[in-house]
Amino acid sequence: MASKIRQAGWYRALAFTILGIAVCIGLSTGLRAAFGLNPVYDGTAVLQISLLMVPIFFLGGIGCFDYWLRWASGRKVVDDHADHGAKSWKDYFKVNTDHKVIGIQYICVSFFFMFVGGLMAMLVRAELAAPGRQFVDPNTYNGLFSVHATLLIFLFVIPVFAGIANYVLPLMIGAPDMAFPRLNALSFWMLPLAGVMMLLSFLAPGGSFAAGWTAYAPLSVDAPIGQAFFTIAVQFAGASSIATALNFLVTIITMRAPGMTFFRMPLLVWANFSTSLLVVIATPFIAASQFMVLLDRALGFNFFNPAGGGDVLMYQHVFWFYSHPAVYIMMLPGFGIISEVLATRARKPVFGYRMMAFSLLAIVLLGFTVWAHHMFVSGMPNWVRIPMMATTAIIAIPTGIKIFSWVATLWRGVLKMDTPMLWATGFIAMFTLGGISGVMLAMVPLDIHVSDTYFIVAHIHYVLFGGSLFTIFAGIYFWFPKMTGRMFNEKLGKIHFWLTFVFFNLTFAPMHLIGVQGMPRRVSDYAEQFATWNMIISISSFILGLSSLIFLYNMVASWRSGPKASSNPWNSLTIEWQVSSPPPIFNFDTIPSVVGGPYEYGVPGAVHAIVGDPAKDLVPAGAGATEGHS
């Protein structure tokens, strides 16, 4: 037992967590005694300090800092790759430095939170099935939709993209791992902590945080203690996100295979490059906004207290300066996935490759100029509205370039309408609808009319569900053979797509109508006139929810006993498909050389990269690949 506690792992993590709580109680009571505050023991203070510090103790216990601390204390560090790669399922529950293991950890954890968050959506729809009160009281209802949105944004869409990219991006650029494997592990482990913290808020006195995922001040400053769980959990999710983005950027810039110029990179790599730029630049703003809320809540600062000269609107400015770019953080990696799937399954080069890359960068730049379009009715100065309306309309142009380029990629292609392709084409249709309602919302008069109605709910779900989630499904199905070495069940995949596609539209399309008619969002009750539509929406949403179980079954069953997948089932040119499925522990024996573009489909004999594989004798003798194989 004692040796188990000394070793990095769950026992030590548990011990450190208990130690951490003790330290926080000591720190809080000690400081309060030193400042002469009464009472010396204050539960709220202890809780807030614990939320900040105990996760760090846990991370230390599970072993995220071991290597760095040894290095920093000047002791000898051996890089024996003991914590690289997974030999059994247990290794997925340990700190691991292999980008492939971390990618799977990311994907599984984020899908867990997708199911939890989706369940909350089901509860929300159950409550809204009929006017009046059905199951939950208004405060619990506010908590449910707040936690639903927060989980699906911070614990699902953002990290699942990081997970997919973690798995395929180093392979795609011909790198043996990410640039900073230990930082990569740390960024992963911060994530479940943030998710658990958000869920724990339901146990807090006064209920979970209920100010929406936007947590506007001063509501979030005056809310019960459950709000602090949001404030602090977002810090961990944000730190995780920044660390991963930094890692991606350094990996892409410094670790590309020879011959892989920027304009030979697959568009998924471009998409993650752009996303990471957004994350590194924008995410500190949400960190700051939540730090300020925390300071106001815990230490009586006056940032958002109008009586003390504080500025309430400032919260919205700082928050949306992150959270508008964040919608592109939640979309650009999906754009990358779609480009990969479409080119491969239409057997054609991506139309306008360079414009696809430049439009990503244009979105990054323009994404920082539109934040106040979320604030047209906030009471900010009127003159700010017009430039924000203009920039918002302009940002539709690079997005339009992408849509038209995808359609042109499909034009006269040899389309193979299998599951990944269905999701990709479904995405183009749904995201275009979401984009059109986005341009409508950019127009100030319409926005004022539909502000805080179900029209907004419809719009966000068309871009985040019909947009991001469809790309996530496309990506998961597309790379499932690579990640697991097995094929998924194609029939179930198609059933999953069609059920989701039909009931997604039945759920969210009517919301446009009742939104324009004025049904307010974020309220647990509504007028009698909306009853019929809400019943239809609720029933559709339950079927939509159930359809995800088909996906879950397909994934679990195929992973356990699906037919073995070949190394390149889609006949793709990019590098990740040129190694075995799943890839070898260190990805490559020798670093591949890139000799052409990534999407030269339809060009006879086109090769993107030469991947050293001694078995196939592709590498000339003496290149170093055969070393140790004689």
Binding site: W71, A72, S73, G74, D79, H81, A175, P176, D177, A179, F180, I242, L246, N247, L249, V250, I253, T254, M255, R256, A257, P258, V280, I281, A282, T283, P284, F285, A288, F291, M292, L295, D296, L299, G300, F301, N302, F303, N305, G308, G309, G310, D311, L313, M314, H317, V318, F321, P584, I585, F586, N587, D589, T590, I591, P614, A615, E627, G628, H629
Partner: protein
């Protein structure tokens, strides 16, 4: 050795040799690029607090300075202390590149002590200001920005401490100074940020 003894299929063989050496596709060193990106992120964090400063001081016109006036002379002295610590940090860097062990040791200790002096003076200033964050929004902004910077000084000092430990164990030299260079870059950032904070809070 063992690999030769076992007729190993490729999959098993992987455990005996490590990963292939990654291609270095940029002249920039990955650790240096990493810390520079992190610093961009940090600048944006400060940027958000400067946004709060702007909204509360300019848009909302809450009275500035908070309290009866800020001790500009003390803060200016502190700026001088922090700036000179940047000079000694640079000297430490140069000594490491030249393999001057004594220079490194004196340099890192001086830098560390100057950083501690800065913090000591800052905390003393806090105690004698005559207002607290609860007093007004301007006071909150004052404590928010200087406190955020103070927190970064503490992080910087922790990194310097690690470098110092490694220097005194003889682990840093001309061939191996990344572990000193990266904290050094961060320390220069902390110093430069103080100039911005000092100018906006105390001078303007």
């Amino acid at each position: 050795m063992e690999a030769a003894a076992i007729p190993a299929p490729a999959a098993q063989d992987d455990h005996h040799h490590g990963p292939p050496v990654a291609n270095q596709s940029s002249r920039v060193n990955s650790e240096v690029l990493g810390i520079l990106l992190f610093i961009i992120s940090e600048i944006m964090l400060f940027g958000a607090f400067f946004a709060a400063y702007f909204f509360i001081r300019v848009v909302n016109a809450d009275g500035w300075p908070p309290g009866a006036g800020l001790p500009v002379a003390v803060a200016a002295t502190n700026a001088a202390i922090l700036l000179s610590s940047s000079v000694t940090m640079h000297w430490t860097d140069v000594s490491a590149k030249r393999g001057n062990q004594a220079g490194m040791r004196i340099g890192i200790v001086t830098t560390f002590l100057l950083g501690c002096t800065f913090l000591f003076i800052q905390i003393n200033e806090y105690l004698h200001l005559g207002f607290t964050p609860k007093t007004s929004a301007s006071a909150s902004v004052f404590f928010g920005l200087t406190g955020l910077h103070g927190a970064h000084v503490i992080i910087g000092l922790l990194l310097l401490w690690m470098s110092a430990v490694r220097i005194f164990k003889g682990k840093v030299g001309p061939a191996n100074y990344k572990g000193l260079e990266v904290p050094g870059i961060y320390w220069h950032f902390v110093d430069a940020m103080w100039i911005v904070v000092f100018t906006t809070i105390y001078v303007l």
